[in-house]
Amino acid sequence: MARIGKILRRTFLIGSAAIVGGVAFGAYYVSRPAANPLKPKEGEAALNPFILIDQKGVTLFAPRAEMGQGVQTTWAALIAEELDVDLDKITVLHGPAAAAYYNSALVGEGLPNKGYDITNFQHNLGEALGVLGKVLSLQVTGGSTSMKDGFERMRQAGASARETLKRAAANRLGVDPSELQTASGHVIAPNGSQIAYTELAVDAAGLEPVDVPLRDPSEWRYLGQTQPRLDMVEKATGTAEFGVDVRLPGMKYASVRMNPKLGGAMNGYDDSAATSLPGVEKIVDLGTGVAVIANNTWLAIQAVEAIDVDWGDAPYPPETDGIFAKIAEAFDGSPNSTMRDDGDVGTLPAGATEVTAEYQVPYLAHATMEPMNATALYSGDALELWCGNQAPTLIQFRAANTANLETEAVQIHTTYLGGGFGRRGELDFGEIATKVAMAMPGTPVQTTWSREEDMRHDYFRPGAIARMRGAVQDGTAVLIDGKLASQSCTQQAVERYTGMPGAGPDKVLVEGFFNQPYAVPNYRMSGHIADLAIPVGFWRSVGNSHNGFFHETFVDEMAHAAGRDPLEFRLELMKNEHAPSAGCLEAVREMSGWIGNKPDGVGRGVAFTYSFGTPVAQVIEVVDEDGTIRINKAWIACDMGLALDPENVKAQMFGGMMYGLSAACYGEITFSEGEVEQYNFPDYDAIRMHTAPQVEVRVLETNRHMGGAGEPGTPPSMPALGNALFDLTGKRARTLPLNTQFDLLI
């Protein structure tokens, strides 16, 4: 008898499987862009969500992690829309290795496997990345893809389940399925009598699943309407379980210190001052770091800090200046990509005025509110791992390798994430917790990083430099020639995940740089990859997070050089290029009452970034209050194409903006003697209640495609603020953060 865990990985297309007392439906379909080589190509994917129906009710297996973006509520709504169950009656379980599944034994395994061949997919993916063939599925919550991904698949799963349940009822009643209706988790017979889905589940398991067309959007009851978040009550009562809240019988608590010279060796350590500290049970040598297992997290932190470690040097220049010199060196080589090359940027059009500027932004930490942590139980021939994570199958693969186990011997339990922002797509916290637990077989051990350890051992948003040259003529832009230099998150991540070097043109590096909807006749944008070994990773909006600032600050400089209103300047270049993008600018113009001037002591800036399929325009207003500058208001307009949950989209938009403003105002990771100089929130602060602007969001739906929501709010916030400060003070911010250049309210 196979376990559900196996079925989860094997079921593709629309299939069903009998389980004890019920039935499981899986649906498989996806189409999404292949911007990131770690994501499947168009028409391919490796995800297999599930609906489980048994005597207890309807359960959604949500293959996407809930890190605050509301994904599980909207995925449940997609299913409920077709399945005809009440949204609040759906139980949502996290992760592919949720305990409920592993505890359910299967009755049978009669799975159809039509139309899609997992082996073929793995082969192609393996070729694309070098290795990874062993990874059964690439399951990542990131890239603002969840709704685009789930939109078809979840509704198909719900529709198939509904029709199959109707057929089971039809067989029982001896009527044709077309005579039956469905509502609120019941099949309704022609005479009005009702049969609960839970009652029909076992019958349905014996039937070939039915494939039916999806309902027309005009029939929708949940989608397009704001739904109460399914996780809200738990999060208002302290009962939501995050990774750090996992409690198991006999559990021990550990903390860790890895080399602060990132990637350097550990030459040795003296733990004599630590071993005798209260609560300490074991010191663990991790090879490139140390951990202490104790009976309390705080005692573990005290003890691990008492260990005297001799750290080896970092494999990169030890000081920030040297690091940025190395990034600038990348301009000397040929570009990794030139994804836009329109017209002729080599010749300055006759009579045009040239504009040039160089910009630089720092490395950034993710700084999730919940520090990195994971809980592991190693029993010699199996491993269980509990953590909030954005990539359960990858972390399973890594943990298995770490513990020298088959992948199938590792169960991943995905909890709520106390912030993700890209940080929890990494695998280090799972690997470290695995190593720590291996030192104490049979005992569950929770390894929690101190905030300082978390801040200083990130996969940072890379620092970046842009060299921009442009030309304006007759009040408009006639030339943009941009060069960007930065480390490549993508290439480094491919190497980290697969052991093989990443290669090829990196589109993520230049997203937000080359693909903006401005009709400029001579337009070339190139990306140069800096060869540095600082750990870098995917930070909310990734390449757009620096490129939005570079591109939109430069467009602002060009507008001023052209003597034009910066919003009208943009709008003119955009309106014939991409109407939904222009519509966002028009919306913020109207919302903010933008008239091109403003009272003394008030500054306004506008910026726009098209990212993850969603155009977003923002206007930010700053005010001078006795020499201190406060961010007063923000207006955001986005065009989602289709907004499945409008209020949730608004939350993502203003949340993404706040995340960007935090970085723009205060965010900076610097290095000295190879170590990160920032330790905790006092030296890596963020927007707070009194520094957050009032915000108004408008959600438009004219774009032809459904866009992402989680990240597109971030990129335009930083240039919009910088442009507002220019408007207020006449001083142009060409570097971040802003608090070193302006007297911002803190």
Partner: protein, 154 residues
């Protein structure tokens, strides 16, 4: 030496060194995980609890210094019996990742107890020690105003 703490109306015997912060007593010893660890240096507010009704950062209060009765988020209300302020959080769909919200609610509860009709400036003053990396501030503000209005009606 065991220390006795009264937490959410119940007495607990705690056998940990005197200098262990209340936060880690609650989380790792008593098993009340609603109170969160964010920074350990009183700069994020995720660990906020009440001692005799006063909002304090539990990461900065040593076990031996706990001077009164402790209330945590679990003692404020439960999923089946939420208080007005928690209900306001749900009504305004405040939480995103949710990790900081226990501390936000504990801080807001003290604010409303001391000031039943807070202005925006009062909210700025009272809440600026509570960090939210998801940036839910506009909805926290709205929920506090709403809870204040409902408490006034009650």
């Amino acid at each position: 030496m065991a220390t006795t703490l009264k937490i959410n109306g119940t007495s607990h015997q705690v056998d940990l060194p005197d200098d262990v912060p209340l936060l880690w007593v609650l989380r790792d010893e008593v098993g009340l995980t609603g109170t969160k660890f964010g920074c350990g240096v009183a700069s994020c507010g995720a660990c906020t609890v009440h001692i005799d009704g006063e909002a304090v950062r539990s990461c900065q209060v040593a076990l031996s210094d706990v001077w009164g009765d402790v209330t945590t988020i679990e003692g404020v209300g439960t999923p089946d019996a939420m208080t007005t302020i928690q209900q306001a959080w749900v009504d305004h769909q405040v939480a995103q990742c949710g990790y900081c919200q226990s501390g936000q609610i504990m801080q807001a509860a003290t604010l409303l107890a001391e000031n039943p009709t807070p202005t925006d400036a009062d909210i700025d003053d009272a809440m600026q020690g509570n960090l939210c990396r998801c940036g839910t501030y506009p909805r926290i503000r709205a929920a506090i105003h709403d809870a204040a209005a409902k408490l006034k009606e009650a």
